[in-house]
């Protein structure tokens, strides 16, 4: 399974870098959420289910939604 961990790490780096260069802010926010989801998998693999749950619930779900709402409110989300 170590190759899967490596793949997830690589994917995380790629998605994170893409989030900084992509023009569409909504896509960038989604990518940040994806990074959170991947890192929560890594936390789970390293035997920290508590941290993984926090990361998945707060990092991937709530933060993404708050960012999207903020984008809408500032009129940048189009």
């Amino acid at each position: 399974m170590i190759w899967l961990d490596g793949l997830v790490c690589l994917l995380m780096v790629i998605v994170a870098v893409t989030a900084t260069v992509v023009r569409n802010l909504v896509s960038a926010v989604i990518m940040v959420g994806v990074v959170s989801l991947l890192v929560s998998y890594l936390f789970l693999r390293m035997g920290a289910p508590d941290v993984a749950m926090t990361e998945a619930a707060i990092g991937a779900a709530l933060t993404t939604v708050i960012f999207l709402v903020a984008l809408r409110r500032t009129g940048e989300g189009r």
Partner: protein, 259 residues
């Protein structure tokens, strides 16, 4: 060009810095503090689940601090965002599609139940007050997504939040009174035992309080943000016509997926 090169050099420097961390690897044996926690955690703090024992008791004051930080940030957000006066918006425009509404009707109750399960079983299974509270808040989020103008019980939520924060401090002071240190979990309380819901002394009580507090706080934050959004267009800003038009007709566009 120069900037790109500098960026690459800086990134490589950071990578080199962190590589020492990777090369360090995982230690084979516990440090002094960890060993103390592992060996004496159950006796000193009544928690069978060591993670919980550390979060709620050994580092309980830090947890109280985290809850306070969350409380202050939500209060600040509410203060900044609530200033616009509310105007009744078109109810039909604030409703989501049939799929989201039906899905919300089916899913909200299980999600909230799961959140309650997580913080009730915080001392036995992974998860705890924060995680359970976040899951409860995401249930509320689904409700709000289904119907933007849904009236949440604000009075109940603020009472829950204030009372649970207050009770957390009271539980800490009770530890001070009974066992001589803030948030202490000693004395007459039952010892932590696996598969026993009523065990681990004061830990489940505190986790329930944290769960209620975090859940109501995050739900209030989401409510303030999304409600403000529904009204934002109707308040004389230059973009207001565009905003309002995007209500009913914007569902077909790319960002309409959330509605």
């Amino acid at each position: 060009m120069t900037r790109t090169i500098i960026t690459i050099i800086a990134l490589l420097a950071v990578a080199a810095l962190f590589w020492t961390l990777v090369a360090l690897g995982t230690p084979d044996e516990l440090g002094a503090v960890s060993r103390h926690y592992v060996e004496r955690g159950i006796i000193e703090n009544r928690g069978a689940n060591l993670v919980t024992s550390v979060v709620v008791n050994y580092r309980g004051l830090d947890t109280l601090g985290e809850v306070t930080v969350l409380f202050l940030s939500v209060t600040g957000a509410a203060f900044v965002l609530r200033r616009r006066e509310r105007k009744p918006v078109d109810r039909a425009a604030s409703k989501a599609s049939e799929i989201v509404q039906t899905g919300a009707g089916v899913l909200v109750a299980p999600i909230m139940l799961f959140g309650a399960y997580i913080f009730l079983h915080g001392h036995l299974t992974p998860g705890g007050g924060f995680q359970g509270g976040a899951v409860v808040a995401s249930g509320v989020l689904l409700l709000l997504l289904a119907d933007r103008e849904r009236a949440l019980p604000h009075g109940l939520m603020s009472w829950l939040e204030s009372l649970s924060g207050f009770a957390f401090v009271v539980a800490g002071l009770a530890g001070l009174w009974v066992a001589g240190s803030f948030l202490a979990n000693r004395g007459v309380l039952p010892l932590g035992e696996w598969n026993q819901l009523l065990s681990a002394g004061v830990i489940p009580v505190i986790y329930i309080l944290i769960g209620l507090k975090v859940g109501s706080e995050l739900a209030a934050l989401l409510d303030v943000m999304m409600r403000g959004e529904a009204v934002a267009g109707a308040h004389g800003s230059p973009r207001s016509p565009r905003h309002r038009r995007s209500g009913p007709s914007g569902t077909g566009r790319s960002r309409g997926g959330r509605r």
